[in-house]
Structure formats: structure tokens, C-alpha cells
């Protein structure tokens, strides 16, 4: 694995995904900014982060579990292709991408929803 440095991995990803790579990077940055904004909103309103966090974790977990079984289909294999623990581990790692996106989105939506509730009460 000595040749698998970050530069090589970047070029392999870039050649594999083309423009999608930058689309995903943009999405990740957007979600990161939204999460930061959500946290700041919660703090500003002095609202506990527990509910958005739990909702995000549950949504992310459920999405990850569902996608763990869908990842093999993405590779044109059957859903039952995961034959060994290492297969499951890699499927989970891939499924964490949509899981992370959904979890982040749920957190942001919940955080801003609590902001609207606080505003309505005020």
C-alpha cells in the first residue's frame, strides 16, 4: 500500500468520479456549513441539542443500515454478496456516506425548526 498516498487517492477518485467528486465536496461543505449554522442557532436560542442530535443519529443509522444492503447492488452484485466481515465493514463505510448526508440534513432541519418554534412562542 506504500503507493497509496493522498495524492494518488485524489487522482484515482477524480478519474473515477469525474465532476461528481466536486459535487460531493460541495455537498459536504454545504452540509458542514449548515450544521455549524444549526448549532449556532440552537445556542443562540439556548435550545438543547439533544432532540436534533438523537433524530439525526437515528435517521443516519437507519439510512446507513438500508444502504449497507444496497451498496452491493450499486456494484452490480446481489444484495447477498456480503460474504465476510471485511465485506460488511466496507459496505458500512460506503453506506455511511448517505447515512451521514441524511443524518446531517435531519439535524439541520430539526435545529432550524426549533428556531422557528422559539420565534413563534416569542
Amino acid at each position: 500500500m506504500s503507493d497509496f498516498d493522498l495524492t494518488t487517492i485524489y487522482f484515482i477518485l477524480s478519474e473515477s468520479m469525474g465532476g461528481w467528486l466536486w459535487g460531493f465536496v460541495a455537498l459536504a461543505l454545504l452540509l458542514l456549513a449548515a450544521i455549524v449554522a444549526g448549532i449556532m442557532t440552537l445556542r443562540k436560542n439556548d435550545t438543547p441539542a439533544r432532540r436534533p442530535l438523537v433524530a439525526a443519529l437515528v435517521a443516519g443509522l437507519v439510512t446507513t443500515i438500508i444502504f449497507t444492503f444496497l451498496v452491493p447492488i450499486w456494484t452490480l452484485a446481489g444484495a447477498g454478496a456480503l460474504a465476510a466481515p471485511i465485506d460488511v465493514l466496507f459496505a458500512v463505510l460506503f453506506a455511511l456516506v448517505p447515512g451521514g448526508v441524511v443524518g446531517s440534513a435531519v439535524f439541520v432541519i430539526m435545529a432550524f425548526a426549533s428556531n422557528r418554534r422559539v420565534a413563534a412562542i416569542a
Partner: protein, 430 residues
């Protein structure tokens, strides 16, 4: 040769005169003329790396082909899950800026005078020649066989090109539907991707099972010698898997003739010729050097690699022992093993590093260990990621992947990872 020696000497003097640690540098200021014969995987990867490492060199790449094929993907086309378009690209997209592309084939190699002549009559002189012509598929060496037969009368062959691989997928599907005897095998000589004949056997078995038709087909693998694979642990594993999947093996059977009308194949065996009936046959042609290489002084003059015209090369450096300014890279190199795209990925940096070192007046140090990789697809969705060296030692790149275990993660690398890595290699980035 004088010009090259002058360039090397001048670079060495400059290095000593400046008193720098040139030995640590990764580039060379040499103005050498480098000619690359062939714009396949090896040729393009060489051009990309050399362009960056030798910015002042004149680099010329010679190839008439405009299309570029991702040959490791032919198996997946043959399996019917990739389209020909997924393995077809354009060479122009990968020729680096600053590299001149001569759109002709090399018609003549003249290493004694440091020049090549193209099919258009152009003579191109060089200080260093990197031969990366690839090889010729010699279907005609099988009596009665022709590329145009692929996809007809139960004949398949995934080697000839994307369209032929696609036609092979259809032939496999028809065979599974109709039932009967399917023959597989490989030629006796050196060949590219020696795992592919095994992969297509496994794929046919897997597709038949998944359609509930395994009982209707009889699969026979005709090994060219007393083993199904040259690396002992892989041979043991595949033999065991074939037995477990009811795939019969005939040893020391080499296809020599085919009668498409009668659906009969004749094999040369130790006990004489044997003719087998078939309903389906996957033909892997004998492979040899292109005519221009065969007609040149470059091939081995004797030994096992001489007959098919593989270029004489030191197996550690890929340098020609009789013409030290000539290197052979990729399929054309007359070295044991090494005829895969993964081998090219490891061969190219060795040749480039050594060329850069030499033209910078340093001692070439890089060594190729024979690295060859074969993601052995054993069914749709599973593969064994087999990597080995000249000595037949398994040398896994990923310590967490068991090379002799059928895994989805190995399939993931084959189906999703290799094309991107291959393209990055063409650009000299992997």
C-alpha cells in the same frame, strides 16, 4: 549512441560540477530524444510520467490507434454487465501536453542506428527507445478460427475487443439457455491476463447457477499444462474451486483447430491430438509480438521467450541487454509474468525513475519485482484479489484482504476501483 553518451556524460559532469545532491532529485534536465512505440497502457503512462520528470526532453509517442481500450474491463463486458462503451476511450484524451503523437504504427525498429521507421515512411531517431507496442492476438494460429466467428455458432472470445467481448456475453447466455458442453482453456505460450480464461469459466458457471441451469451445462477447462494457474497457491485454490463447482479439468490440452460447422475442437495433448465436441467454446488465442518487433533484432534470440518474439529485457530493470538505450514495457517485454495492466503500473515508474536517474548522471536504482495482479472474478459479485511476484509469492497490497478468499470487497475493487486507478495510471498519477 554517441549523442546519448554525450547527454549522459554532460548530465553527470553538471551534477558533479554543481556539487548538488542530484541523486535525490526526481527530475532530469536532459534534452534527450525519447521515443515511445505504442500508446497503450504502458505507452501513455510512460509519456505522462516522462513529461513531468524530463521537462526538457523531446518525447514522441507513435501509435496509429485512436481508440484506447480498458482491457481489464473486457471480462465484465464478457459477463454481460458492462457495455463496450464503458471500456472504450480516446487516446487523444490521455496524450500529455508537450508530447508529440505520431499517428502511425512503427514499421521498422533499427536499434543499431537508434531509429524507428513508421508505416508512413517517417524516420524518427532517438536517444532512448521505450517499446510498448503491446502484443498481437494470433487467432489465425488456431486452424479454422477467425475473429469474425466470435459470437456465432457457440464461439466466444473476450480478448479480441469490446464488441467481441459483448458478443461473447450473448453467446454465453445462449449456451446457458440451450445447455450442452462448454469448453474453456488457454494457449500454451505467454499471454496477457492469464486469469481471464479462468474468470470466464467461473462467470459462466455462476450465471448458469443463478438461472437454475447448471444441471443443463457441462463445463470443461482445458489447461495447457499440468496446472490451471502458474502460481502454486492460486492453482491449488482454483483446482479446489473447480472441483467444488463440478467444472472438469483436462490437463496439457492446447487448442490447435476448431471446426465451427461440426462444433468440434481439436487439442494437442501429450498422447496426440484429441477432438472434443462442444456446444460452446471460449477461445483464447496464442499471443505473440507484433510483426515489426518480430522482424527486428530486439526479441530474445533463444530460450522460451524467443519463439513468439518477446523483447529481450532484464527482468529487474526492463532494459535491453544488447541495446542499453532500449527498454521494453508492458505486454511486449520478454520477462516472466507481467502481462497485465497492474504490472504496467509497477513497471512504468521503474523505467522512468531509472531513465531520469541515468540522464541526470545518477546510478539507476529502481527494480521491478515482477508484480502482477489478477482480480480473479469467481462469480458476479465476488472475486479473489490475487497479486504475486516473479517468484510466485503472493504479495497482497491490502493486508486486510485475503487473496485466496472470495470476497465482495475484491469485486468492489474490480468493478468500481480499477477503471479510475487505470485512468490515473495513464496520466502518470498512480
Amino acid at each position: 549512441m554517441e549523442r546519448r553518451q554525450f547527454l549522459v556524460g554532460a548530465a553527470a559532469l553538471a551534477s558533479v560540477g554543481l556539487g548538488t545532491e542530484a541523486a535525490q532529485a526526481q527530475t532530469s534536465d536532459s534534452r534527450a530524444r525519447v521515443v515511445i512505440a505504442g500508446a497503450g497502457a504502458a505507452g501513455l503512462a510512460l509519456a505522462s510520467r516522462l513529461r513531468r520528470s524530463m521537462p526538457n526532453a523531446t518525447i514522441t509517442i507513435i501509435d496509429a490507434k485512436k481508440e484506447h481500450h480498458f482491457q481489464p474491463g473486457f471480462t465484465l463486458v464478457g459477463a454481460g454487465i458492462w457495455s463496450p462503451a464503458q471500456v472504450t476511450e480516446q487516446n487523444v484524451d490521455y496524450i500529455p501536453r508537450g508530447v508529440e503523437w505520431v499517428e502511425a504504427a512503427v514499421a521498422e525498429f533499427d536499434p543499431d542506428a537508434n531509429g524507428v521507421v513508421t508505416t508512413t515512411g517517417q524516420r524518427i531517431d532517438y536517444d532512448f527507445l521505450l517499446v510498448a507496442t503491446g502484443l498481437n492476438l494470433n487467432y489465425e494460429a488456431i486452424e479454422g478460427m477467425d475473429v469474425s466467428l466470435i459470437g456465432r455458432d457457440g464461439i466466444a472470445s473476450i480478448y479480441a475487443g469490446p464488441e467481441q467481448a459483448n458478443a461473447s456475453a450473448t453467446a454465453i447466455d445462449r449456451f446457458i439457455e440451450a445447455g450442452g458442453v462448454g469448453l474453456f482453456g488457454r494457449p500454451a505460450g505467454e499471454m496477457k491476463c492469464a486469469g481471464a480464461p479462468l474468470k470466464i469459466t467461473f462467470i459462466t458457471d455462476d450465471k448458469a447457477r443463478s438461472r437454475g441451469r447448471r444441471g443443463a451445462v457441462e463445463l470443461v477447462y482445458n489447461a495447457h499444462n499440468p496446472a490451471v494457474f502458474s502460481v502454486a497457491p492460486v492453482n491449488d485454490k482454483v483446482t479446489e474451486m473447480f472441483a467444488g463447482r463440478d467444472i472438469a479439468v483436462n490437463y496439457s490440452h492446447v487448442l490447435k483447430a476448431i471446426d465451427p460447422g461440426a462444433k468440434q475442437a481439436t487439442y494437442a495433448t501429450e498422447s496426440g491430438d484429441i477432438t472434443l465436441d462442444y456446444d460452446f467454446i471460449h477461445v483464447v488465442p496464442p499471443m505473440r509480438a507484433p510483426n515489426a518487433v518480430l522482424a527486428s533484432p530486439l526479441p530474445w534470440q533463444d530460450g522460451a521467450l524467443a519463439a513468439d518474439g518477446w523483447i529481450e529485457a532484464d527482468k529487474a530493470t526492463l532494459r535491453h541487454p544488447r541495446y542499453p538505450n532500449v527498454f521494453a514495457v508492458g505486454d511486449i517485454a520478454g520477462v516472466p509474468r507481467g502481462k497485465t495492466a497492474a504490472s504496467v503500473k509497477w513497471q512504468v515508474p521503474v523505467v522512468v525513475d531509472n531513465l531520469v536517474a541515468e540522464t541526470a548522471g545518477r546510478s539507476p536504482q529502481a527494480v521491478y519485482n515482477g508484480y502482477t495482479s489478477c482480480p480473479m472474478v469467481t462469480g458476479i459479485g465476488k472475486a479473489m484479489l490475487i497479486e504475486f511476484d516473479y517468484d510466485g509469492n503472493l504479495i497482497p497490497s491490502f493486508p486486510f484482504i485475503d487473496p485466496l478468499k472470495e470476497l465482495w470487497v475484491s469485486w468492489l475493487i474490480e468493478e468500481k476501483g480499477l477503471l479510475g486507478a487505470y485512468r490515473a495510471m495513464l496520466r502518470g498519477r498512480a
